[in-house]
């Protein structure tokens, strides 16, 4: 039942009239069975694009230029990414805005039951029973009655639950959640996060959680990868990353959280803004905004992601020095 997902050196290319651009470069990630992995980055950092590549729903002008996506099957043998159907059947995805993924003219129950009939060949009645069971699983009360309700009667949080139920319909091994709580209120967000945690505990599903909110990561995720300008700059366990970030960008992100800031001081913010995809600086991409930059950072190609311990990897040349610095330097 449980599966391990390995993504190795994934690069996504978009062909434009002005030359190719790479929204995702050498993206590597491994997700253990039952693990919740966070992908953190700003808009345009490539986190969504990387996951779309995994599920095979890239925009029309984009394609995977290199890299492989491997998902182990029941016998723990890895199935190569050339077998798209294996990936598609076992990886499901949910999105930020549930409203636009639900058909307003179809009852919510039908939208969950329909794929069951299609993919698993269930009869109408069986599919209905199965869908109601899924509704219960994602915490929709009075599931029998809610089955025939149309999406506009549902709040944003409830719609997201329906979407999660639909995603779970075909028993996926991995669930990719693309900012599923960003559009929701904090109290509803908390409920959805708790639901995802519970689902993981009950079914052993692996979850990749895309977000820009480090607070959510700290509540939910076991490990986290930070993306900046199309590349992963740091991967670590959540606790390690939040307490001792070893990349200047993760460090800056954590320090600029208003939750943890002191009121009488300015927020320690990162100056400047992320580079555009078609105008990447040479060398380390964070270089123009980095307070730790040295001459060596200007090398022609971006510093590669290197393992710094068994469970951590990092793309900063000066990570050893950062280790001694800690979070609260001035």
């Amino acid at each position: 039942m449980m599966s391990k997902l390995i993504i190795r050196d994934l690069t996504v290319e978009i062909v434009t009239p002005f030359g190719p651009i790479f929204p995702v470069e050498q993206f590597s990630l491994s997700v253990e069975p039952g693990e919740i992995v966070g992908l953190v980055g700003e808009s345009g950092s490539g986190k969504t694009m990387a996951m779309r590549a995994v599920v095979g729903i890239l925009p029309r002008n984009a394609h995977i230029a290199s890299g492989e996506i491997l998902l182990s099957d029941a016998d723990n043998a890895f199935v190569p990414s050339s077998q798209q159907s294996h990936l598609r059947h076992n990886i499901a995805m949910i999105f930020q805005n549930p409203t636009s993924y639900l058909d307003p003219l179809m009852s919510v129950g039908k939208q969950v039951a329909e794929p069951l009939r299609f993919h698993q060949g269930l009869t109408r009645k069986e599919a209905r029973t199965e869908a109601i069971e899924l509704f219960r699983k994602v915490g929709i009360h009075d599931a029998e009655r809610q089955f025939d309700v149309y999406p506009h009667h549902f709040s944003g949080g409830m719609k997201q639950r329906v979407l999660i139920a639909a995603a779970l319909a075909c028993n996926p091994k991995v669930l990719i959640a693309d900012e599923p709580t960003t559009a929701l209120d904090v109290t509803i967000q908390k409920q959805i996060l708790e639901l995802l945690c519970r689902l993981r505990d009950e079914t052993g599903i692996s979850i990749i959680f895309i977000t820009h909110d480090l607070g959510v990561v700290s509540q939910l995720c076991d490990t986290v990868s930070v993306l900046y300008a199309a590349r992963i700059v740091e991967s670590a366990s959540t606790i390690e990353l939040l307490n001792a970030p070893l990349h200047p960008y993760s460090l800056g992100l954590i320090r600029s959280q208003p939750e943890s800031a002191q009121r009488d001081r300015p927020l320690p913010s990162i100056p400047g803004q992320p580079p555009a995809l078609n105008a990447m600086p040479s060398g380390c991409r964070f270089l123009p905004r980095c307070e730790f930059a040295i001459q060596a950072c200007k090398q022609p190609s971006p510093p590669p992601l290197v393992q710094t311990s068994t469970v951590r990897s990092n793309a900063c040349l000066r990570w050893r020095e950062l280790q001694t610095l800690g979070l609260n330097y001035d």
């Binding site: 062909v15 009239p17 002008n61 394609h63």
Partner: protein, 280 residues
Amino acid sequence: MRAARLLLSVGFLKNNNLTLVLGIFLSVCWVVIAIFAPWIAPYDPIAQDVARTLQPPSFAHPFGTDNFGRDVLSRVIWGSRVDLAMGLGGVFAPIIIGCTIGLLAGYFGGIIDTLLMRFLDITISFPFFILMIAIISILGPGLMSFFIALALVGWVSYARLVRSRTLVLRHSDFVAAGQILGFSSIRIMFRHVLPNAALPVLVFIMSDVVLTILLGSSLSYLGLGVQPPLAEWGIMIAEGQNFISTAWWITLFPGLAIVILALSFSLIADGLAAQYKVSE
């Protein structure tokens, strides 16, 4: 594979531009022909020559001559003046009236919107063509009556188009910002709302020009538009229809002229629409 994708994306973009460029090129050609008609046209368009009636196309008369011995080529060239004036002049008043009404209705809403939209409903509840004919019959045939009649009935599409865009834009943050900064309603409507509603209107103008030319030609054909002996394509077709089996060139060439002129404006409309989509 990659090369194919590249070609596709580049080709797609060029294709868009090509439509627009071709449309503009053809329209400019027509405008040039219209402006320089007296110098381009080989003969006087209304000069009759009884000795040379119904002559088929030849070197002396590339498009042939009609039943009065008038040179068809010269008449087509001179006709472009009337038809362009009809098309461009005909949409002028509807644009001004329609945009203003649409803006007012959409921006202020409430009772103003209700009144203006009921007025619009009344106007469109009459069949368009019948209403045009009725108005022109009252005013008497001629180009001026045609313009007045269009001003009275042609504004509805513009009003609807602008109103629907204004309804959306009225709730946008930059309009709210203008209100908070104390900008006058006139300023917000004409500087902030209208320019952002203009592109779909521009696209529609291009197709409306075509429709107006066809309408003008149809009315001339019915004897309600421009009056003979003035060279106008619709009139030429009307006059030529009696001889269609013996002298096809009298109707064919003005017909082709209408098609090409209509095509050039349609191409601009298509190109603009595509460009609009890209910028969105």
